[in-house]
Amino acid sequence: MEEKQLHNRFSEGFRDGIPIGLGYLSVSFTFGMMAVSMGLPVWAAVVISFTNVTSAGQFAGLSILTAGSPLLEMALTQLVINSRYALMSLSLSQKLHRSISRAERFLIAFGITDEIFAVSSGKCGEVGTRYMLGLMSMPIVGWSLGTFVGAAASSILPEFIRSALGIAIYGMFIAIIVPPARHIRPVGIVVAAAVTLSCLFTYTPVLNQVSGGFVIILCAVAAAAFGAKLYPVEERSQSDA
């Protein structure tokens, strides 16, 4: 039987993680800034970043937290926004070497982000624990450090700079959704449906009373279910995701 290639050196993972960590610096910088502008102390912003390591979920969670919305809303919002990690985690479970224990899987799971997932699934063959831990390290450091710098610097940055940086996270989201929406028609349709619903909930009188976290849940679940019903995904294209 053919033996699959195994990547299991910490240094290799560490090196692969450096560009991800650098990229995270700037996005988490925006998160730190936004957290402080919404009334959180610097340490609280860093605690959120270090324990969550996720962009969309943290930005959504921030408004729920500062609005003092019910904890259930927080849980449901995170569940829906971050449900994509379940798919990545599932896919990664096929990629990990079979010798990896459950305890090690508990550790690796903490670092599953869009970019870490993308890099690790791009490796040919299988990946081991040491490679994964190396890969996670710089992104986690970059994410936490960027949050700290953003939170600490927000008060000294002039208004026009803060205004310009406010769009950074959305620019990144657009960079994630546009290319697949362009190449895979159903993805474009699902995005268009989600955007339309979200705008409806923002501008329609009665509907705009629904709290922000739930709007994202409702729109995303409805649009994705619509897409799954009308355009079921084949086994192949799933693995390209």
């Binding site: 969670g61 798919l87 599932l90 769009i167 959305y170 979200s198 995303a220 897409g227």
Partner: protein
């Protein structure tokens, strides 16, 4: 900041971690339901779409600069530039457009 900040963070981090951990630790076989697999495939795009619009229009100090930033991001993303390039250029366009308009208005 709410008094029970730590509970919010615990729920936030706990839910996020469980989502990442459970499939990796428990699932060894492929999911059978085609609907669920498709749903999970579309979810990230639907979430990001709903989070970006219309929120992006109010992400800067002014509506017009946000629209300029959105257009810049849209064009660069369409040309498949990297995340960092798209986000950075979008910020730069917001900065420049606010600066230009400040003088135009005066």
């Amino acid at each position: 900041m709410p008094d029970n900040f730590i509970f919010y963070v615990a729920v936030m981090a706990g839910v996020t971690y469980l989502i990442r951990m459970l499939p990796l630790a428990l699932v060894k076989k492929k999911l059978k339901s085609r609907f669920i697999r498709s749903f999970l495939f579309y979810i990230p795009y639907a979430v990001l779409g709903a989070m970006t619009f219309p929120a992006i229009l109010y992400s800067t100090g002014r509506l017009y600069s946000a629209i300029a930033g959105l257009l810049a991001a849209g064009i660069l993303a369409y040309r498949e530039k990297s995340l960092l390039t798209v986000a950075g250029c979008s910020c730069a366009v917001v900065l420049v457009s606010e600066w230009v308009l400040r003088f135009a208005v005066k």
